[in-house]
C-alpha cells in the first residue's frame, strides 16, 4: 500500500485507487452515521467530475499490468460499491438518493466485466426504490434515471440480450404504476425517460403491455395539464411505442388514432370560427366510409379526457393538441423497421385546416363565441400554427421524394399562408419550410417557389428597421395575433413602433413595419438556398434584382462593424450572436449570388470581394473563416479553367452581335460604318468593350479567334453578324426551314426598318450563298467563322441524313473551291461598305438607303 501511495504524477495509474478511497472517505456520507447531508451533497457534482476525469472506476489501464495495482484498484472499487449499496438501503431518503445517483454514474463508468457480473443485483436494488414503500420523489426520479443509464449500458452487450430483455420486462409494471398512480409531474418525467430508453433498446419488452402503456400516456397527454417539456417527453414515448410491435399496422393505427384525436379537439375548439363542413371533410379523410372507427387513443374518448379541462376554463386545449402534433412529427421522422403507409392527405389537410383558422369569423356564421373566448383563442393560435408548420416540415422530411404527388398542394398551402403570416416566429418557421422543400425536391420545386420566396424576402429585407437599430426583445417575442394586424405589409402602423421611436434614426422609417433580424436571417438563408438550387433555371426575370438586394443586405450588415460571435457573459445567448449570424448569412448569400450560374459576369463582384477581404481580416472568427473560403472559391470565377461549352451563345459569337445585346439601336449602323481603314481600330475598341463586359473566358476565346478575323478582314463582319442573326431566329423557331424569311421577320420587329433595309438583303445573299455551296468551306480556311457557320446551319435548317453524308464525305478539293467562291464574294461586299462609309462621312444617316441599294446588286452580280 505504502508503495502505491508514492505515485509519480497525476497520470500515474498508481494514483487512482488512493484517489478513489479518498473520495469515499470525504464525500460519501456513511449510511449509519447521521451526518449533515447538506454540506456533503453539494459537493456531489465535484465528486462526479473527478470520477469521470480520472476514470477512477474503469479498473483498467493500457499502460499498467501490475497485478498488485490491479488488485488494489479492484478492492477500492469494491469498497466504493459496498458503500453505495449500503447507502441505497438506508432509511434516510437523502442518503438513499445519493446512493442511487452515484450508482447510475457507476453504471456508466465501471468496467465491462464488473458491469456484467453485477448489473442484475443493481437493477433489483434500484427497482425496489420505484415501488410503493418508497415515497420520496427525489428517490423515485433518481432511480428512474439510474435504471435508464443501466439499460443504456446493458444494451451495448449483445451476449446478454435475452437476459436483458426479460429484466427490462420486469420494469414495465413499476413504470406504469408510477405513471398511473403517482401524482407528481417530476416523477412522470423520470418515468417517461425510462420508458423512452426501454422502447428504444428493448422494444420487445413492452409488447405485452402495449395497450396499458398507451392508455397511461394518452391520459396524461389528453389531460393537458402539465409543462410542455413533460408532455413532449410523454408524446415522444407515445410516438415510439409502435416500434415495440414493429409491424406496419400498429404504426398506421397509432397515427390514425392521434389524428382523430387532434381533429376531435379542433372541432370543439374551433366551433364558431370555422364552417361545419370542415369537420366532416377532415373526418372523411381520416376514416374511410364503411370501415370501422379505431378505438380512441388510449381507450379514452378523446374529449372525455379533455372535457374537464374545458369546463373549468374557456381556453383552447392547446397543450394537448400541440403535444399530439409533436407526436405526429416524431412518428414521421423516427426510423421504423418496416415500410409504413402514412396518411399523407389527412395530415396535410390537418395542417391546412389549422393554418386557415385565424380567429376571424366566417361571414356566414352567427357569433357563437363570446369575445373573451375569441381573444383567448387568438392568443393561443400562434402556438398551434407553429406546430402545424413543424408538422409540415416533418412530412417533408419523412416523405422525401415521395411527396411528389402532393407537392403542388403543399406549395399552395405554403404560399397562401405566406401572404397572411405576420408574426416573426411563424415567418421564420415558414422560411424553414421553404428551405426544406427546396432541399428535398430540387430544381423543379425551385422554379415553382421562386416568385413567392422572392416577393417575401424582398419585403422582409427591404424594411429598413432591423438594420438600423437593435431589436428590442419585445419585438421578437410572440405577440398577440390581432385581427386588425392581419394584413402585414408596409404602411400599417403597429403598436410596437412606439417602443423603437426612441432610437435616433427611426424618424423616416416610422411608416414601415419593422422586421426583426431573425426574420431577415431566415429570408437571406432562403434566398441563398434558392440561388444554389434554382438559379440556373428560368431565373432571368429575378436574378439581377436579387443580386443587388443581396449586395445591399451584405453591405448593410457589415457597415456597423463585425458582430461578436462569442457569447457575452452578461447577456443571454441570442442577442449577442444574432448580429454576427446575420452578417454570416448575408455574406453566404452574397457568395451564392456570385457563384450561382448566370449568363453575365456578376455585376457586383468587386464590391463583394472587398467585403470578403475586410471580413477575412477579423482573424479567429467564423466570419473570417467563411470569408477566406469565399475568396478562395471566387478565384475560380475570376480565372475560369474550363473552356466554354457553348458554341452558339450570341455573346461569344462575334463582337458585333455581342454589342447588339447592349446597344440594340446601333448594331447595324455600327457594323456598316466600318471600312477597311477603320477596321482594326474598330475591332479593338469593340473588343475592349466586350472585355469590360465579359470575363476572361471570352478573351481567351477571342485570342484564338483573332487570327481568323484578320484573315477574313472586314468583309467577314457582315457575314458573321448575319449568321448570328440566323442563329437567333432559328433558336426561337427551330422548326423553320427558311432562314431568310425569319430574318426579315425579326428585323422588322426589332429594328427600325428604314435603317436596316440595307444590311438585310446583303446578309441574305451571303447566307444563301453559304447555304448553297460552302457549308463546310467556311470551315477550313477560317477557323472561327467556320465553326460558327456550320453550327448555325445545322441549327437553322434541320439537317437530314443527306446533309450529313455530304458533310462527312466532303474532301479537301471541295473545300477549296467553295472557299474561293466565298472569298470572291467578299471583295464586293468590301467595296460596297467602303463606298458607303465615304458617303456616310458627308451625309446624314438618312442617305443610307440610297447607297444600300447598290450593295445587293454587286453581290448578286458576283454570284
Amino acid at each position: 500500500m505504502a508503495k502505491l501511495d508514492q505515485f509519480e504524477n497525476m497520470y500515474d495509474v498508481g494514483s487512482k485507487p488512493p484517489m478513489l478511497r479518498n473520495l469515499i472517505r470525504h464525500y460519501l456520507p456513511a449510511a449509519n452515521h447521521p451526518r449533515d447531508l447538506n454540506t456533503s451533497c453539494f459537493e456531489l457534482p465535484k465528486l462526479v467530475s473527478v470520477l469521470q476525469t480520472h476514470r477512477l472506476l474503469s479498473e483498467s489501464d493500457s499502460h499498467s499490468v501490475d497485478p498488485k495495482l490491479i488488485n488494489a484498484w479492484k478492492s477500492a472499487v469494491d469498497d466504493w460499491l459496498g458503500c453505495l449499496l449500503s447507502l441505497l438501503s438506508s432509511d434516510m431518503s437523502d442518503k438513499c438518493w445519493v446512493g442511487i445517483c452515484l450508482l447510475g454514474v457507476t453504471c456508466q463508468e465501471c468496467s465491462n466485466q464488473r458491469f456484467l457480473t453485477s448489473y442484475s443485483v443493481w437493477l433489483d436494488n434500484l427497482l425496489s426504490h420505484i415501488q410503493p414503500p418508497s415515497d420520496s420523489q427525489l428517490v423515485k426520479i433518481a432511480s428512474c434515471t439510474s435504471l435508464s443509464d443501466l439499460l443504456t449500458r446493458l444494451a451495448r452487450f449483445f451476449e446478454v440480450k435475452k437476459d436483458a430483455n426479460s429484466l427490462a420486462g420486469k420494469l414495465i409494471q413499476p413504470v406504469l404504476k408510477l405513471l398511473n398512480e403517482d401524482n407528481v409531474e417530476a416523477v412522470w418525467e423520470g418515468a417517461a425517460s425510462l420508458l423512452y430508453t426501454l422502447i428504444t433498446f428493448f422494444p420487445a419488452s413492452i409488447h405485452h403491455s402495449y395497450d396499458k402503456v398507451e392508455a397511461a400516456i394518452a391520459s396524461k397527454i389528453l389531460s393537458g395539464k402539465f409543462s410542455t417539456i413533460t408532455l413532449k417527453k410523454l408524446g415522444y414515448c407515445l410516438a415510439l411505442l409502435p416500434k415495440s410491435k414493429g409491424d406496419k399496422d400498429s404504426w398506421s393505427l397509432m397515427m390514425q388514432k392521434i389524428l382523430i384525436s387532434i381533429n376531435d379537439h379542433l372541432n370543439e375548439a374551433f366551433q364558431g370560427v370555422e364552417e361545419e363542413a370542415k369537420y366532416d371533410e377532415a373526418r372523411r379523410l381520416l376514416v374511410t366510409p364503411g370501415k370501422d372507427l379505431p378505438s380512441p387513443l388510449g381507450g379514452h374518448t378523446s374529449l372525455e379526457g379533455g372535457s374537464y379541462n374545458r369546463t373549468s376554463s374557456e381556453r383552447l386545449p392547446t397543450a394537448t393538441i400541440s403535444t399530439l402534433m409533436f407526436c405526429c412529427c416524431k412518428m414521421l421522422t423516427s426510423s421504423y423497421p418496416v415500410q409504413v403507409s402514412a396518411p399523407v392527405r389527412s395530415i396535410l389537410a390537418l395542417v391546412e385546416r389549422l393554418l386557415r383558422v385565424d380567429g376571424s369569423l366566417p361571414p356566414t356564421m352567427l357569433p357563437f363565441m363570446t369575445s373573451l373566448q375569441r381573444e383567448l383563442m387568438c392568443s393561443e393560435l400562434p402556438v398551434l400554427h407553429a406546430y402545424s408548420l413543424e408538422l409540415l416540415i416533418a412530412v417533408i422530411k419523412g416523405m422525401r421524394r415521395q411527396l411528389l404527388p402532393h407537392s403542388a398542394y403543399v406549395v399552395r398551402v405554403v404560399t397562401r399562408y405566406f401572404k397572411i403570416c405576420a408574426l416573426p416566429e411563424l415567418r421564420i418557421k415558414l422560411y424553414s419550410v421553404i428551405r426544406m422543400l427546396l432541399l428535398s425536391m430540387g430544381v423543379g420545386m425551385a422554379i415553382y417557389l421562386a416568385p413567392d420566396v422572392i416577393d417575401n424576402a424582398f419585403s422582409d429585407l427591404n424594411s429598413p428597421a432591423g438594420e438600423d437599430f437593435e431589436i428590442s426583445p419585445a419585438n421578437t417575442g410572440p405577440a398577440l395575433l390581432q385581427p386588425s394586424n392581419r394584413k402585414r405589409k408596409h404602411g400599417t402602423k403597429t403598436g410596437s413602433m412606439e417602443k423603437q421611436g426612441a432610437s435616433p434614426k427611426v424618424g423616416e422609417s416610422n411608416t414601415h413595419q419593422t422586421t426583426p433580424i431573425t426574420v431577415k436571417i431566415a429570408a437571406v438563408d432562403s434566398l441563398e438556398l434558392l440561388l444554389t438550387v434554382g438559379a440556373a433555371s428560368k431565373s432571368d426575370s429575378w436574378r439581377s434584382s436579387i443580386d443587388s438586394l443581396l449586395l445591399r443586405t451584405a453591405i448593410n450588415s457589415c457597415k456597423r462593424g463585425w458582430g461578436n460571435v462569442e457569447n457575452n457573459v452578461f447577456l443571454p445567448h441570442e442577442p449577442a450572436s444574432v448580429w454576427a449570424d446575420f452578417q454570416l448569412s448575408s455574406l453566404r448569400a452574397l457568395l451564392a449570388s456570385f457563384l450561382a450560374p448566370a449568363r453575365v459576369r456578376p455585376p457586383y463582384l468587386s464590391q463583394g470581394l472587398e467585403l470578403f477581404r475586410r471580413g477575412k481580416q477579423e482573424a479567429g472568427t467564423t466570419l473570417a473563416q467563411f470569408c477566406g473560403y469565399a475568396l478562395f472559391s471566387l478565384e475560380v470565377l475570376i480565372h475560369p479553367r474550363a473552356l466554354p461549352l457553348d458554341d452558339f451563345h450570341p455573346a461569344y459569337h462575334n463582337p458585333t452581335d455581342g454589342a447588339s445585346n447592349r446597344f440594340p439601336e446601333n448594331t447595324y449602323s455600327g457594323s456598316q460604318k466600318q471600312n477597311s481603314l477603320f477596321l482594326s481600330a474598330a475591332q479593338r475598341t469593340e473588343e475592349g468593350a466586350i472585355k469590360s463586359h465579359d470575363d476572361d473566358l471570352y478573351n481567351k476565346w477571342l485570342e484564338n479567334e483573332n487570327n481568323a478575323f484578320k484573315d477574313m478582314r472586314d468583309t467577314s463582319r457582315p457575314n458573321d453578324s448575319s449568321l448570328a442573326n440566323v442563329l437567333e431566329v432559328s433558336e426561337q423557331e427551330p422548326a423553320a426551314a427558311n432562314a431568310d424569311l425569319h430574318m426579315r421577320g425579326e428585323d422588322e420587329i426589332v429594328v427600325q426598318p428604314r435603317r436596316l433595309e440595307e444590311p438585310i438583303p446583303k446578309s441574305q445573299e451571303i447566307v444563301s450563298a453559304n447555304a448553297d455551296t460552302s457549308r463546310p468551306a467556311v470551315g477550313t480556311n477560317l477557323e472561327g467563322g467556320q465553326i460558327e457557320s456550320k453550327k448555325v446551319l445545322s441549327a437553322s435548317d434541320r439537317l437530314n441524313d443527306i446533309d450529313h453524308d455530304m458533310l462527312s464525305g466532303v474532301d479537301k478539293a471541295n473545300f477549296d473551291t467553295v472557299g474561293r467562291k466565298t472569298s470572291s464574294t467578299l471583295p464586293n461586299v468590301e467595296k460596297g461598305s467602303s463606298s458607303m462609309t465615304h458617303l456616310e462621312s458627308e451625309s446624314s444617316m438618312d442617305s443610307f438607303p440610297n447607297i444600300v441599294d447598290a450593295d445587293p446588286d454587286t453581290d448578286s452580280d458576283s454570284d
Binding site: 457534482p45 447510475g104 435508464s148 425517460s193 440556373a536 457553348d646 445545322s794
Partner: protein
C-alpha cells in the same frame, strides 16, 4: 460492392458481375430486353421491360430480387413498354410506351399515378435528373423533352400552361437513341444521340442547343465522363468516339469537329456505362461481350461474356450488401427492402379505393436518436434545485409565506379565543344565574 448488370435483346438472362474482381454472380433468368429497358430500382431489386415479339400489342415488365434467379413479379401494362427508369430512391418507375405515352407508377403500391401523352412516336429513352425532379425523354420522332414532375402532378398549373413540358428540343431529325445527363442540377447539360449521326449537347438552364457534334456513324450509346471533360459515343461502326465537352479539341483531326479520338471495338457498340470509381468505361457490343476500358490508358482491362446476341443494356449498381448465394443472409440484411411486398404495376389508373389514394407507403428516415447517460446531469439538476431552495431568494419567499401563515393563525387564534371567551362567559353566567335559583329553591 459495385456490380455490373447487363441484358440482351435475345434471351440470355441478366448477367451480373462484380466489377472489381470480375467474378460472375447470379444470372437472372428469362429476360429479353429492349434498349434502356433494364433498371435497378433503388438498388433493392431489378426491373426489366420485356418485348418478345415486336408486333405484339402488349409487353410485360418483370421484377427480380437480387437473391433469386427467377423473375418474381410480372406486370402487364396497357401497351408495350420499352424504356423504363426509376428515381434514385426507387419509389417511382416510369415507362415509355410505344404510343408516345409516359407511364408513372408508384413502386410500393404498383399504382399508376399518372399517364400523359409525351411524344408523337414511341418513347425510346427516359432519364431522371440528378435530384429526381425532372424527367428527360427521347422519342422515335427525334424529339427530346424535359418534364418537370411537379407540373405533371399539378393539375391547376397544367390548366394555365400551354404545354406540359418545360422544354422540347426538336433539332434531331431521326430517332433519339440515347440520352445522358451531366452534373449540376438546374445548370446541367443533357447529351442526346440520334440516328441522324449527331450528338447534341443541350443546356438545361437555357433550354437550348449548346453544341452539335457530327459523327461518322450512327451513335447508339453515350456516356459522360463524370468530370464532364469529354463524353463517349459508341458508334455502329465499332468505334467509341471521345468528344470534347470542356476539353480542348484541335480542329484538324480525322473524325470531325470536337471529336478528340476514338477507341476501337470490333463490333458495333450497343450500350455503355461509365464508372467514376476507377475511371472505367463499359461497352456492350453486338457480339455479346462487355468490354471494360481503363480510360486512362485506353486499354481493355477486362471482358465479360454475356450472350451470343447483342448486349443492349449495361448498368453499374452499387449494392450495400454483398450478393451472397446464401439467401438467408441477404434477406436478413435487406430486411428494409422487403421484396415480396411489391405488387405488380397496374394497367390503368383507378382511384376507386380512396383510402389507398390518401396514403403513401414510405420508408421512414433512418435517424439514429439514442438515449444517453443521464445520471450525472440529474445530480447537477437536483443539486441546483436543492441549492435554490436553500438560497436567499427562496428563503425570503418562504419567510414571507410563513409570516403570512403565522398572521393568519394568529387571527384564527384570536377568533377562537373570542369564541371561547364568549362561551365561558355564557357558561359562567349560566352557572351564576342557576345557583341562586337552586339556592333559592334549596332555600
Amino acid at each position: 460492392m459495385n456490380v455490373v448488370i447487363a441484358s440482351s435483346s435475345i434471351d440470355g438472362g441478366i448477367g451480373c458481375w462484380d466489377l472489381q474482381t470480375g467474378a460472375e454472380q447470379l444470372r437472372y433468368k428469362t429476360c429479353a430486353s429492349p434498349p434502356h429497358g433494364l433498371a435497378s430500382i433503388g438498388s433493392s431489386f431489378l426491373a426489366c421491360s420485356q418485348l418478345r415479339d415486336p408486333s405484339a400489342t402488349s409487353g410485360h415488365v418483370l421484377y427480380w430480387s437480387w437473391s433469386k434467379p427467377q423473375a418474381q413479379v410480372k406486370s402487364f401494362p396497357a401497351e408495350p413498354i420499352k424504356p423504363i427508369a426509376a428515381n434514385s430512391e426507387g419509389s417511382y418507375i416510369v415507362g415509355g410506351g410505344s404510343s408516345g405515352d409516359i407511364y408513372f407508377w408508384e413502386v410500393a403500391t404498383g399504382r399508376l399515378l399518372k399517364k400523359w401523352h409525351a411524344h408523337y412516336r414511341a418513347v425510346t429513352c427516359l432519364v431522371f435528373s440528378e435530384d429526381d425532379s425532372l424527367l428527360i425523354s427521347g422519342s422515335e420522332d427525334g424529339c427530346v423533352r424535359v418534364w418537370s414532375l411537379f407540373m405533371i402532378f399539378d393539375d391547376v398549373r397544367q390548366q394555365q400552361a400551354s404545354h406540359l413540358y418545360e422544354y422540347s428540343f426538336t433539332e434531331h431529325t431521326l430517332r433519339v437513341t440515347d440520352i445522358a445527363m451531366g452534373y449540376g442540377g438546374g445548370n446541367a447539360i443533357i447529351v442526346s444521340a440520334s440516328e441522324d449521326r449527331t450528338c447534341k449537347v443541350w443546356s438545361l438552364s437555357r433550354g437550348r442547343l449548346l453544341r452539335n457534334v457530327v459523327f461518322p456513324s450512327i451513335i447508339d450509346a453515350i456516356a459522360i465522363d463524370s468530370g464532364e471533360h469529354v463524353f463517349y459515343a459508341g458508334g455502329r461502326d465499332g468505334k467509341i468516339y471521345i468528344a470534347a465537352l470542356n476539353a480542348e479539341s484541335s480542329p484538324s483531326n480525322n473524325y470531325g469537329l470536337h471529336i478528340i479520338g476514338s477507341l476501337t471495338d470490333q463490333r458495333p457498340v450497343t450500350c455503355m456505362a461509365y464508372s467514376a470509381e476507377g475511371n472505367l468505361l463499359l461497352s456492350g457490343s453486338e457480339d455479346g461481350m462487355i468490354r471494360v476500358w481503363d480510360m486512362k490508358t485506353k486499354n481493355i482491362v477486362r471482358m465479360f461474356r454475356h450472350s451470343k446476341g447483342p448486349v443492349n443494356n449495361i448498368l453499374i449498381v452499387r449494392l450495400s450488401y454483398p450478393l451472397n448465394r446464401s439467401e438467408s443472409k441477404v434477406q436478413a440484411s435487406s430486411r428494409r427492402h422487403e421484396f415480396s411486398l411489391h405488387p405488380p404495376l397496374e394497367k390503368y389508373a383507378n382511384s376507386s379505393d380512396e383510402d389507398i389514394d390518401n396514403k403513401t407507403i414510405i420508408t421512414l428516415p433512418d435517424t439514429i436518436d439514442l438515449p444517453s447517460y443521464l445520471s450525472s446531469q440529474l445530480i447537477n439538476d437536483h443539486i441546483k434545485q436543492l441549492q435554490q431552495q436553500g438560497s436567499s431568494a427562496a428563503a425570503e419567499m418562504e419567510v414571507k409565506r410563513l409570516k403570512l401563515d403565522g398572521q393568519r393563525s394568529m387571527e384564527m387564534f384570536q377568533q377562537l379565543k373570542k369564541v371561547y371567551d364568549n362561551l365561558q362567559e355564557f357558561c359562567v353566567n349560566e352557572l351564576l344565574d342557576g345557583q341562586p335559583m337552586d339556592g333559592s329553591k334549596g332555600n
